[in-house]
Amino acid sequence: MNNSLRSCQIIVFIFILGLFLFNQPIISIFTNNNSLFNFPVILLYLFSIWGFFILLMALLAIFLNKQTDSNSNNQD
């Protein structure tokens, strides 16, 4: 019970983090004429945040896996 509440909190945290990172006003910081290594900064920003977000979810998956393992151990 406690475990699932904890994973819920982590999930909602990641979700809200993403909601902010992928939306206004943060992305408007990067909508300008500048470019980095020839790339428009907005593209660099969006794709790297995207990758980072996927990484976070891969970690979440590991966490969820561990948690079910420990749950099933408790039941044994």
């Binding site: 992928f22 206004q24 593209l43 969006l46 995207w50 896996n65």
Partner: protein
């Protein structure tokens, strides 16, 4: 330019491969070696989200609005972590209630209502049909481009083709065949279509592969990598507007589109089909939460480069940006790549069409047609023995109907839209399910009429603000409506509803439709009162993990029915073989005998209803079951009472479980304590036996010798001396034994009077050797002493002497009698002084190495041929207790036959100079 024949052959071969893959998936499923029971296949099948719209339309959108294509993929990415909360709950509910489609899900939640089911179906069909049409259009136009390039496409030369010459028509027919073969394989729609899912996963792989190939080709073959492309693209006239000031971000549509796609990934019928109905194991979600977004990321990496490549190449020519992925390789003469791209687009389109058609046809037949047909009395379906043919006919018929409707829709409106806009219109239609599904899953207050009102309000607003304007270019709706508003009222302009301007059309429609939807859903729900069945379904959905089946039976079914009626009913829909199997399974599980029980209980009625739900949908199942069940009218108060009772019972049983677990734990502890006590009692008995034996031996000899002396006063003086000597020795032994017992008793009861003071280690060793000196001499023992330094210890000198003496006399006792050897050494190790006493005797068996330090225990594993030295079994135990009282420890290292090394350690206090004494 490629020949028509080649393209046709390649596309039909591809579809043949698709059939083969699906066949293989079904074969594996029949062999119980499911290929789709795997998180990777699951994530790939979710990628059916990427339709031809992604494949062709993303590039088009990127060419026109830069990053504007991204929100459609960022939305699902953002939603992915919530899969574990929302999608998992949907999967659990769907499995428990044997849900077959999203319409079934909603209708089941709101009291298994036909009205709700049909409304959802209508909205879904209206919203999705154009979307399927769009896929067919993509197939058709890609075929056209491939075979006619560089002739430019205009709508006129498209319209001239009669449908029987249109490739897309034949592909549509093939897809209908595919959906029928693999989508209606089982009569029970909750059974997974494993072949279909395998094929979809395969298609997801093909479209990704094809898109990456064209991406690499444009980026690294036509240009010199990403950097080069972007540098060159700076010369484009609209480059700045693409990236530096994308209007999409400023206008609020960025958020609107992200939000819309977040809802779409959960509530599109085809997504519901692959991620809920076809889900094998909810644990697969764990991997899907990151693999699916990763897929989206990868398939989008080359969108911008291809768009820029296309813009650079075709700047100034009227080529539609939606076709860049095809026209670019064709323009540079790479027909092979173009053909591969065509196949990728075909896979993206067919995947979407197949799943969407199966999903729509299931809801169309189960939640709309079946309940209606079953109600029509004049068809006399009640007299039919077997209705399976009808069911399959309806489901297959609807597949053909939906695909043909889509095909003709595409023929009518074909060239008026870009790919993206129709997709988003469909998204907005299915977004109307969001409030009632999410509300239904987490809020018990939502009612049937609330849901109906919300959906209809949202749908009407959608129709007015999005669907109507989309029909204007086709000439179906007059453009006057757009400019002047409905009935000439300016507040009712479709694109500026109630005067709201400044938003793009999708965000505008989304905002108003969801607002009206929520307003009516919550408003009507709060004002109304749920019926009994709505209330119980609400509780079962919201608290999915709370109620066990037994409680559910009581809350739902209160009627009785005869077993025979239920059997006949089941047979009509699932055939007699499966009916008998199911009923005997139920009887076995519940220890029932149908012969002795002609009446079915609530549990069986509920069981039959669930089974039927999987076949004909929950509202039809309800109708069929209530036709044979004499139902007691259940009031909402009854349901509430039952629910609260069951909750109490659950709480009570949880408490009981907790208590019994605690009790079990306590019992275990008691058992352990009891065992320990028993063991100790056994030791005590052994001890008394040993001790009395040990005490009796000297006592017996003392008594024997004193009796001799008493009876024979004339005994010779030397003889007398000898006897008296023995008596003294024996009494000394007796005293020693009694002292040992007293010592151990004192130490254990912590009454020992310890005299701690600084003592020199060497002094202790020397004194004890001196005490034992005579013994060493008598037994000709070679003694070796290794102590380089002298150490100061804090301890009780007499007691430490006792330790040394005990260990030394032990060593003497067990020493090799022929070549006796004892070595004493002391050494500082970290913060302790370790003293070793080594002998070359018989050694101590590994099993005995800890036992010997316990009270009244002696080594048990001794070579039976050798003489067993005498001892009380107390010496080493006292030694251990003294060492431990000094804060040290004692152990033995030995191998049988190779001597023993007894070591004890004491806390180090300080080092003494040579010769210094305390």
């Amino acid at each position: 330019m490629l020949s028509n024949g080649l393209i046709l052959v390649v596309s039909f071969i591809y579809i043949a491969i698709l059939f083969a893959v699906a066949r293989y998936g079904d074969k594996r499923s029949d062999e119980k070696r499911s290929i789709i029971s795997n998180p990777y296949i699951y994530a790939l099948s979710m990628a059916v989200y990427c339709s031809a719209w992604t494949f062709y339309g993303s590039v088009g959108k990127a060419a026109n609005s830069g990053i504007g294509f991204l929100p459609v993929y960022l939305g699902p990415t953002l939603m992915a972590p919530l899969f574990w909360i929302i999608l998992r709950k949907m999967i659990r509910i769907a499995k428990k209630h044997r849900i077959t489609s999203i319409a079934d899900f909603i209708s089941s939640r709101y009291g298994k209502s036909i009205l709700i089911g049909s409304t959802v179906t209508l909205i879904a069909v209206t919203g999705i049909l154009p979307y399927i049409a769009l896929q067919l259009k993509a197939v058709s136009s890609s075929y056209f481009i491939l075979s006619n390039y560089p002739d430019l496409i205009t709508s006129s030369n498209f319209k001239d083709i009669p449908f029987f010459e249109d490739t897309a028509f034949y592909i549509t027919l093939l897809l209908a065949l595919f959906a029928i073969v693999f989508g209606t394989r089982h009569i029970d729609a909750t059974e997974r279509h494993e072949g279909l899912v395998t094929a979809i996963a395969f298609e997801s792989f093909v479209k990704l592969f094809a898109f990456l190939i064209i991406g690499f080709f444009v980026t690294y073959s036509l240009h010199d990598g990403f950097g080069d492309l972007f540098t060159k693209a700076k010369s484009l006239t609209n480059f700045d507007s693409l990236f530096s000031e994308p209007t999409i971000i400023q206008s609020g549509s960025w958020f609107g589109l992200t939000f819309l796609s977040m809802l779409a990934i959960l509530f599109l019928p085809r997504q519901f089909q692959v991620s809920v109905v076809e889900n094998v194991n909810e644990d697969h979600l764990k991997k899907a939460v990151w693999i699916f977004p990763l897929y989206l990321l990868i398939i989008n990496i080359f969108v911008i480069p291809i768009a820029l490549g296309g813009l650079l190449h075709f700047e100034g020519s009227p080529i539609d940006a939606d076709t860049f992925v095809l026209t670019l390789p064709l323009a540079v003469g790479q027909t092979g790549i173009a053909l591969l791209v065509f196949l990728g687009g075909l896979s993206a389109a067919t995947g979407m069409v197949i799943v969407a058609t199966v999903a729509l046809s299931t809801m169309f037949s189960n939640d709309m047609l079946m309940p209606l047909i079953l109600r029509l009395k004049f068809l006399k379906l009640n007299e039919e023995k077997d209705l399976r043919w009808l069911l399959l006919l309806i489901r297959r018929g609807t597949i053909i109907l939906i695909l043909l409707l889509s095909y003709f829709y595409y023929r009518v409106i074909e060239s008026h839209y870009s790919l993206v806009s129709i997709g988003l219109i469909s998204f907005t239609a299915v977004a109307q399910f969001a409030p009632i599904i999410l509300g239904g899953m987490y809020w018990k207050g939502g009612t049937k009429y609330g849901a109906l009102a919300g959906m209809l309000a949202g749908f009407l607003v959608w129709g007015f603000t999005l669907a109507l304007p989309s029909l204007v270019p086709a000439g179906i709706v007059s453009p006057m409506l757009m400019e002047e508003g409905l009935f000439g009222i300016s507040l009712f302009k479709p694109m500026a509803f109630l005067g709201l301007t400044g938003l793009d059309s999708i965000t505008h429609a989304l905002f108003w439709s969801i607002l009206f939807n929520c307003f009516f859903y919550f408003g009507v729900s709060i004002l109304g009162r749920p019926s009994a069945i709505e209330y119980s379904q609400a509780a079962l959905f919201v608290d999915i993990d709370k109620y066990s089946p037994e409680f559910e039976h009581r809350a739902i079914g209160q009627g009785t029915a005869s077993i025979d009626d239920l059997r006949t009913l089941l047979k009509r829909f699932i055939g007699s073989k499966r009916t008998e199997r199911l009923l005997s399974y139920y009887a076995k599980k519940n220890n029932l005998d149908w012969e002795t029980r002609p009446l079915a209980d609530a549990g069986l009625i509920n069981f039959v209803e669930k089974r039927l739900s999987g076949v004909i949908g929950s509202s039809s199942a309800r109708i069929m079951v209530s036709s044979v069940v004499k139902e007691k009218k259940v009031s909402i108060d009854d349901v509430m009472k039952i629910l609260s009772e069951t909750q109490q019972v659950i709480a009570y049983s949880q408490e009981l479980e907790k208590k019994s677990m605690e009790l079990e734990k306590a019992t275990d502890e008691l058992k352990r304590a009891n065992q320990k006590l028993k063991k100790m009692d056994q030791f005590k008995d052994d001890f008394i036996a040993t001790i009395t034996h040990e005490l009796r031996t000297p006592l017996t000899s003392v008594r024997a010798f004193t009796e001799i002396l008493y009876d024979n006063p004339e005994i010779d003086i030397r003889q007398r001396q000898n006897f008296l000597n023995i008596i003294i020795k024996e009494t000394e032994r007796l005293t020693r034994l009694i002292n040992q017992i007293l010592d151990i008793q004192k130490i254990e009861s912590q009454e020992m009077d310890w005299q701690f003071s600084p003592v020199s280690l060497n002094e202790i060793i020397e004194d004890s050797i001196a005490t034992m000196g005579k013994v060493f001499e008598d037994q000709k023992i070679t003694l070796e002493i290794v102590n380089e330094h002298n150490y100061l210890l804090n301890g009780d000198k007499d007691k430490l002497m006792q330790v040394m003496l005990n260990l030394l006399s032990n060593a003497v006792k067990y020493c090799n009698k022929d070549e006796s050897f004892i070595k004493i050494s002391s050494e500082k190790r970290n913060s302790v002084i370790q003293i070793d006493i080594e002998d070359n005797g018989m050694g101590v068996h590994e099993d005995d190495q800890t036992i010997i330090f316990e009270k009244f225990r002696q080594a048990t594993k001794i070579d039976p041929d050798k003489e067993r030295p005498q001892g009380s079994g107390l010496g080493l135990s006292i030694t251990r207790q003294i060492v431990e009282a000094h804060g040290g420890s004692i152990w033995v290292k030995s191998k049988p036959g190779q001597g023993a090394k007894f070591s004890f350690s004491l806390p180090f206090s300080s080092k003494l100079q040579q010769g210094e004494r305390v």
